[in-house]
Amino acid sequence: MVHTWSSLISTLFLLLLCITGLPLIFHHEIDELLGYDPKPEIAQPGAVKRSVDEIARTALAHDPGRVLQYILWDKDEPNNIIAFTNSKVDGDPDAATLRAYDANTAKPLGPVGGGPMLIFLKLHVDMFAGQPGKLFLGAMGFLFLVAIVSGVVLYWPFTRRLRFGTLRDKSRRIAWFDWHNLLGAVTIAWALVVCATGVINTLAEVMLGQWKANELADMVKPYAGKPPPVHLASLDRTLENARKTAPDMNVSFVAFPGTPFTSSHHFAVFMRGDTPLTSRLLKPVLLDGETGDVSDARDLPLYLKALLVSQPLHFGDYGGMPLKIIWALLDIMTIVVIGSGLYLWVVKRRKHRSHAMAGQPSLQPSR
């Protein structure tokens, strides 16, 4: 009962998530192919990096009337700098414009993201329904976790007389029943991890709000009641100070004062390490928006670290192309588990309705 209903309610949405998730595994490759992932020019020998202030000015000139929200350094393409502009610092994330700039020439390289992959992403993340849509999909993901766990319990009575990997073809129903069990059994750990990390990701905004209300509020206490900075400090100076505070780390991105990732007075420079794990564990350095001096730097709380580490485990983007291909195959196998589960339920219902039991081998738990 638990298995049937937790699966049925979440089935349609899980199919949507699995199907939209499939191309998203390769979104870097697809974006590159379609021209939504601009690449910097090959750097001339001895090329000198332009000042970040210059790149910020170029970005603002490119989108007049807008303000900068974030500047991000591409992890895989160090010469790729991505500027986020929006109508105001705390503007709607969907209204942000992302453009890439070359770190050595400050030349605009083109828009980042957008295109068909953005549609898949929106369907996958919130079905174009904003935060409620996101939390709803989180709830569906949680139901799917319940379905997986209840499936483990049911696995015993249904397969105790069968050898692991049995694939019979007595009837269509039994064939799909065996595939449901086999694919469900071999993908279970992966499915649990990808589903659980997906559910954690739906809570990202909630966790960020928690951090701002507690840890961040505590860090910026001395600034309480002060008006937002009028003239922003030099970005180069600000970044220099942040690097001195975390000398063995690199800049991941800088959040401008008033954006969701920082206070209204501070630049927040998020630093990252250089291993697959430490590159996810960001460390924020808060710097005065007017002077660029360091105000405070503290590690993120455990729940935000958990969120950051859960992301690669959901995306499958941390082990090269072979891991992405395996991710896609496991995703397809999960689609078959969900599809065959739905089929088995429909067939069972039809059989109960018609009472035409004769001659059909039944799929009852064996005692």
């Binding site: 397969t159 692991f164 496991l330």
Partner: protein, 68 residues
């Protein structure tokens, strides 16, 4: 259903859950290895997470062969 003390022929705990459990442990090890160890961890993750796919293919091939 909770009676696990039946004879071997009607299935015991290990024959039912052993295979899936081993694959599960291997999968989790693969998921973590690429995150924690560059290089070697990456190669291990391909093998460990490729195992469920390979095993499924093997079961499928075995059935086809036994039918022929």
């Amino acid at each position: 259903m909770t009676d696990t003390r039946k004879s071997r022929s009607s299935g015991d705990w290990w024959t039912v859950y052993g295979g899936p459990l081993l694959i599960g442990v291997l999968s989790v090890a693969g998921l973590l290895s690429a995150l924690l160890y560059e290089g070697v961890g990456r190669y291990f993750s391909w093998l460990a997470l490729g195992a469920p796919v390979a095993l499924t293919a093997w079961f499928y091939a075995r059935r086809r062969k036994s039918k022929a």
